[in-house]
Amino acid sequence: MKILTTVKKVVDVELNMHVKDGALVEDGMQYVTNAWDENAVETASQLKENNGAETTLVSIGGGDNTDIIRRCYAMGIENGIHVDDPALEKADSSIYAKVLQKVYEAGDYDLVITGKQAQDTDSGQTGIILAEYLGLPCVSNVIALEVIDDQHIKVSRSGDTGTEIVELTLPAVISVDVSINEPRLPQMRGIMMAKKKKITEMDLAALGTSADEVGADAPKSEIIEFMASQSRQAGQKFEGDAAEITAKVVDLLANEAKVI
């Protein structure tokens, strides 16, 4: 089984974000592996260890992604591809999906595993759109996976009314939820070995495509402005005698907020 997994470099969401003149203030920003992608990497690594799968990861954009890809190597991924091109600077989900389509078609993969969503855009679309472009079956929000045979896997999906059990015929695309596994921490030996491994760097031309073909010349949507979040204001906080302050708050809920 050949697996392609996707990893994105994103801004560290634990840091404070500042907006000035409609743009994010880059100063002080740090970039890290998209946390939700680590679950995809872990899923791929487990399939390598338990089922002899061959694992490749692809990362698109982000400039120097060496550290991020090496970290995935240290987590067990065997091959890494980094596609970057100035034309991809304003790429939306469908452009990412077009680029992934090209990577997929060059590699004869059986299963594409993506994370649930990227922490910078919070969109959760790319894997699903990729499956549409490829005409492949797709299940998103996967919380468990079991290999049936070379051509079939069984997945559990966390849905609206319960856990959906779906049998997928490979090749297929899945996106995994954070609850599928606990991503391993890279160990020293893996980190040392990862430093020696090569990363395949490609631009769109090397991938056999162009900005025009992946739609990068005409994105379907584009971010025109960032705004500060309409963050809530802290309200009234009470400290002191529990009985007294709790009675006070219940009174406020009933008579000020009128919500009980």
């Binding site: 801004v11 969401v13 634990e14 974000m17 907006v19 994010l24 939306d92 989900s93 469908s94 922490q119 855009t121 919070d122 969109s123 959760g124 679309q125 759109i129 079956p137 797709c138 299940v139 998103s140 929000n141 966390s158 849905g159 609206d160 009314t161 319960g162 856990t163 959906e164 059990i165 779906v166 049998e167 997928l168 015929t169 939820d177 954070v178 609850s179 379907k220 949507s221 584009e222 025109i224 402005e225 960032f226 705004m227 963050s231 809530r232 802290a234 309200g235 009234q236 906080k237 009470f238 529990a242 302050i245 709790t246 009675a247 708050v249 219940v250 809920l253 907020a257 919500v259 009980i260």
Partner: protein, 321 residues
């Protein structure tokens, strides 16, 4: 004139509140409206769908649509969108919507925006506003295509009182099954529980509850209020609460009238899942807990002491009402 197709949100035969909310917004921006309803034994919902503000009802009613499967549902939405000539296709916020919307967008060669808070039309120019970077910022997104498929955040739009449409049913042919992604079964959640996604009050429990006894205490408060009972990620990871009870960015995003965060410190992923609530009450031992930064009312105290008093005081107030 813009044409809005709203994908009806139906759960176990019941039409959910997102449907009238989205139809109300569509009418408010002067669009003509249609709804597409997909499922098994749902034809009886037609009067309600019209009453919610739609002027055409596309109905895909087939036993094969009993179990949710994203491929066939997307095919029905695309069919309805083409027949109606929709420029805007709107979904309410749900896991199903998140799975179906990108498929519909890809098939219609449309732009796709998830978790939108607002939408504006200026002539043919469509713009949306949505949170990004774990709710830390908002972004204004310009749509460059004629069509937009959007998933709307819970609570973004309000249903207009006294709205109504007209009955005009168009039956859709049943879609083909997705044989390469066969849904074998759905292990349904415990019945009788109040759905987090549309509960008026949500009570959530966090790490402060420590163990099962603490969880049961907080659940008692939820039961008293007929509230949905949710959880922070810590209690799910700890094995105390089911995954589908997790409120947060990667779990359920909720926007109830009242949200009670009990023993929850307020990690950003949790805040991203509940900060759209109308009123937030937080109970936490740590006066510096980030949850207090978003709470309208905060009680600094041990939940084991505070929750029983909350229950008693709420009982007293209810008795007076």
């Amino acid at each position: 004139m813009a044409k809005v197709l709203v994908v009806a949100e139906i759960k176990q035969g019941v039409l959910k509140s997102s449907t009238p909310e989205l139809l109300s917004k569509a009418r408010a921006i002067g669009a003509s409206t249609a709804v597409v309803a997909i499922g098994s034994n749902i034809e009886s919902l037609v009067p309600e769908l019209a009453g919610a503000g739609s002027d055409t009802q596309y109905i895909a009613d087939d036993p094969g649509l009993e179990l949710f499967s994203a491929g066939p549902v997307a095919a029905c939405v695309v069919d309805a969108a083409r027949q109606f000539g929709a420029s805007l296709i709107w979904f309410g916020f749900s896991e199903s919507s998140k799975a179906v919307a990108p498929r519909v967008a890809a098939q219609l060669d449309a732009a796709c925006a998830t978790e939108i808070n607002d939408i504006s039309l200026n002539g043919d120019q469509i713009e949306v506003i949505r949170p990004a970077i774990t709710n830390k910022v908002m972004q204004r997104v310009k749509v460059n295509t004629e069509k937009l498929v959007a998933v709307v955040r819970a609570g973004a739009f309000e249903a207009t009182e006294g709205i109504s449409g007209t009955e005009n049913v168009v039956k859709l042919s049943p879609p083909e099954m997705d044989l390469k992604a066969l849904v074998r079964e759905i292990l349904t959640d415990a019945s009788g529980e109040i759905d987090l996604a549309d509960a008026d009050i949500v009570v959530s429990v966090g790490r402060g509850a420590k163990d099962q006894a603490g969880i049961d205490l907080v659940r008692g408060l939820a039961d008293d209020l007929h509230a949905g009972f949710g959880s922070s990620r810590a209690m799910v990871d700890g094995g105390f609460m089911a995954h589908n009870k997790q409120v947060g960015q990667t779990g359920k995003i909720v926007a109830p009238t009242l949200y009670m965060a009990i023993g929850i410190s307020g990690a950003i992923q949790h805040l991203a899942g509940m900060s759209g609530s109308k009123v937030i009450l937080a109970v936490n031992k740590d006066p510096e807990a980030p949850i207090f930064n978003v709470a309208d009312y905060g009680i600094v105290g041990d939940l084991f002491e505070v929750v029983p008093i909350l229950q008693e005081e709420i009982r007293k107030i209810k008795a007076k009402q």
